[in-house]
Amino acid sequence: MKQLVILSGKGGTGKTSVAAAFAHLAAQGEVPVTAVLADADVDAANLELVLDPRPLERHEFIGGSVAVIDDARCEGCGTCYDVCRFDAVLPPADGREVYAVDPIACEGCAACVYQCPEEAIEMVPQLAGHWFRSESRYGPLFHAALLPAQENSGKLVTLVKQQARLLALDEGQAAVLVDGPPGIGCPVISAISGADLALIVAEPTAAGIHDMERVLEMAAHFRVPALVCINKTDVYPQGADQIESYCREAGIEVTGRIPFDRSVTDAMVRGEPVTAYSPSSPAALALAAAWKIVAAYLGNPPA
């Protein structure tokens, strides 16, 4: 079983559109691969919008804990305020005579709990979101929804991926396709860990190229082999050339050149992958060609 993670660094380059197309092509295309799907962008999960999932299971996700001060026991000594490095303890104000914790700022470190001389503080686990197992048009889908302003998205990414992986192993599926989050920080590190192959969807723009370089560095740092796929290639052909020459020098294969194509947006509005909605559109044809290469690598990842 092989794990493919789709990343980009910069947001909005088309990760989810590519992931949805690959899910469709894996299930019904010329190069079939049995796959379990995972949406690892738990902050803003969009894969479900184009895969029409039927939920089978819904689970609570308890993220971290936050400190809560018992008003009745607080003597107002301020030790908690002194030890908190996250500006999460609020001194007495507005008629409140004791200290309080801002749950959004609280990092969950519990330093205040152990230092409070009155033992007036306890850690309370927080419901941070939900994760789901669904049956989508193109196979099992694991996805999640983080509640607004919650922490621990890296933990939830790990959980969603773990579930997808377990099912793939159980059912003898060939691959797990992971739609990753933007950036290079904690959720992305969780998304790439254990992956056999990373596909970077890069946009030929000044910002897209800058962030592609950072995410490729990150893949190298974690020793995950990477391929690049250029999206909206013709918006700035010189940028696409720049990506090609960067990749040539770095020894990274460019597997796809997807043109800007309004049928991608039209397909999204219809709630479908572009390869299903308009199989003969320029973007769909380019995605099918890219999938052939990626599917071959899933059997035999590049060194």
Binding site: K10, G11, D43, N46, F86, A149, I184, G185, A206
Partner: protein
């Protein structure tokens, strides 16, 4: 006035809007010289891009550091108290050896405080860098850059804000990272206004809804800019109307804009007519914030 430009979904045009807003507010209006150009903070520390558009000259640098524990083996008795209090499993005791995992450490200092032997001291561990300097049209520019391989964006954003936000009431524009979790919340703490940039597609709508919930959760007034107007569908408009979110500006989808931004040009360079619109936008934001604060009183 601290205005955060955010979106939920990535790639909707946060930086395009934030850079052009800053440039528009930095120029003199006819007969009205700007006393102080705005401060611009690129808080997208995982993928900072605004420097590509505003061309700052970095004159000041400072490491982003968290304080991680260092265990004096001569004093450590292996009692395990430090590992017991660490909520992140960043310090573990194996036999008589105490090991620290810097990537897991949040730098809270709890282990140092509880060690009965006083065997733990703290040393700085760099996870990124802060940089600041003047940019185009005298904008005070600052950004944070997270080191590749470091997981925690939040401390970099927190330290960037402490380091670079001027203490007075001047105008600060914060370019937020995508998403809706900790890094976005850290960017939003203490903000006066949230400017949400979205695109009129199902993905844009889905993530706008989440970002609007974050704004509501934090009690920050918000307004919307619809970018790439004309693609997709009418879902975003319907949502904004129903949620009472004002649509403050529409930027149509035009190939010339997409191509220009791709080359690293700003919207107001490509379409100078947007500069007065961004100045009007600031007035609308001021009015919305004022009327809300009056309503609270």
């Amino acid at each position: 006035m601290k205005i955060v430009v955010a979106s939920g979904k990535g790639g909707t045009g946060k930086t395009t809007v934030a850079t052009s807003l800053a440039l528009s507010l930095a120029v003199d209006e006819p007969g009205q010289p700007v006393s102080q150009a705005p401060t611009y903070l690129d808080c997208d520390v995982e993928g900072p891009n605004a420097h590509l558009f505003l061309a700052p000259t970095f004159e000041q640098r400072q490491a982003v550091e968290i304080r991680i524990p260092r265990v004096d083996e001569a004093k450590c008795t292996g009692c395990g108290k430090c590992a017991e209090v660490c909520q992140y499993h960043a310090i573990v005791v194996l036999g008589k050896r105490t090991l620290v995992f810097p990537q897991l450490c949040h730098g809270c200092g709890s282990c140092t405080l509880v060690c009965p032997q006083g065997a733990i001291t703290e040393e700085p561990h760099a996870i990124g860098v802060l940089e600041a300097g003047p940019a185009a049209r005298s904008i005070s520019f600052a950004r944070g850059v997270l080191d590749v391989g470091e997981p925690m964006a939040t401390p970099a954003i927190r330290q960037l804000k402490r380091w670079a936000i001027p203490g007075d009431e001047s105008l600060v524009i914060l370019d937020a990272p995508p998403g809706t979790s900790c890094p976005v919340v850290e960017t939003l703490r203490g903000a006066d206004y949230l400017l949400l940039v979205t695109e009129p597609t199902p993905f844009g709508l889905h993530d706008l809804r989440l970002a609007a919930e974050v704004a509501a959760e934090l009690g920050i007034p918000a307004g919307v800019i619809i970018n790439r107007d004309g693609i997709g569908d009418a879902g975003v408009d319907a949502f904004c109307a129903a949620a009472g979110l004002p649509v403050l500006m529409r930027i149509p989808f035009e190939r010339a804009i997409a191509e220009g931004v791709a080359q690293g040009r700003t919207l107001v360079e490509i379409r100078p007519e947007y500069a007065p619109r961004f100045r009007t936008l600031l007035q609308q934001i001021n009015m919305q914030v004022d009327s809300l604060s009056r309503a609270k009183k």
